[in-house]
């Protein structure tokens, strides 16, 4: 006589034997000793407000630039300032001088963590 499968199902599934299915550590269960520099690169967007002002002026004057000298200068100055600051920031990061404090960039953090690594 055939026994319907529902009778077995009522008892539920037996748990697996832990020895037969050993735990696998797919990724290491500890933090890495480094951080990536992605967050420090920042967003590339700058001078949106100046761009808006410039567009408004250009549209009002039918795209003749000589009526918008002030706006153009402001926009270019803003972008130059932004690029200069980015350049300086990159230079300080590359110098990699470690100073105490909580506002560290990724290179400084990596230097710290290399000195105090996670136990293996």
């Amino acid at each position: 006589m055939r026994i319907p499968g529902a009778l077995y199902a009522a008892r539920g599934r037996a748990p697996q034997n832990e020895k037969e299915v050993p735990f696998q550590e797919i990724l290491p269960l500890r933090l890495k000793n480094t951080v990536s520099g992605k967050a420090d690169s920042g967003s590339d967007v700058a001078c949106l407000q100046e761009m808006g002002v410039l567009f408004a002026c250009l549209k009002d004057n039918e795209f003749v630039e000589k009526y918008c000298n002030k706006e153009i200068n402001q926009f270019q100055k803003c972008y130059k300032f932004y690029m200069d600051r980015k350049f300086e920031a990159k230079k300080t990061v590359n110098q990699g001088i470690v100073q105490p404090g909580n506002n560290l960039n990724y290179k400084q953090l990596n230097k710290y963590m290399r000195r105090f690594p996670n136990p293996q």
Binding site: S43, V45, E65
Partner: protein, 216 residues
Amino acid sequence: MGFVPYTTLSSLRTLKCCRLMSMYPPHFAEPILKKDSEIINKKDVSHVPIKAAPNDLSDSIFYGVLKNKLLKYITKKGNGSLAKQLLTDTLETIKRTQIERLNLINAEKENVIIDTERILVNAIENSRPLLQLSEIKRGGVKYQVPIPLTEKKSYFLAMKWLLDAAREKDRKVHLPDKLAWEILDAAHGQGRVIKKKDDLHRQCESNRAYAHYRWS
């Protein structure tokens, strides 16, 4: 005349960052162009190692940074002497045209610029774009996003457009003639290059809603 700021043309020449593969260590100083420049304190420079001067750098009165750059963009397959000849012919054509114009009109003679270098600079400054469109992919759709330009890139684009316009011609027309016309047109704030720049600005303006897509 259009907006001519005469900004720091030196930015075309000097590099801001130390090049990674540079053959010179960073403490090497740039060579100085003008011998009797008052800016430099000679005692400061006397014991500093200086980079070798580029072979196109010159103290001559005919030397111009923009002109030199344009010369390099004209050059094809390293034939610099031909490029130089072409540019000289261009400037000669401009000069002849302007002198003809000067002799034709009776009033307001001082408004005609005969100095070819000034015309060239005016043309390039007039055709410099302010913004650029860059393609950014968001949600499977490519958007044309307006982004600001660096000074160097805007000079490059201006000269490239002038040359592109000049190279689009009949086989029978010589490049110096066409280039001279394009430069004269651009210096007076009209012509194809100026139109191209204005079109780019218009396109940037119509796509300004996408400007914040540069977050990424």
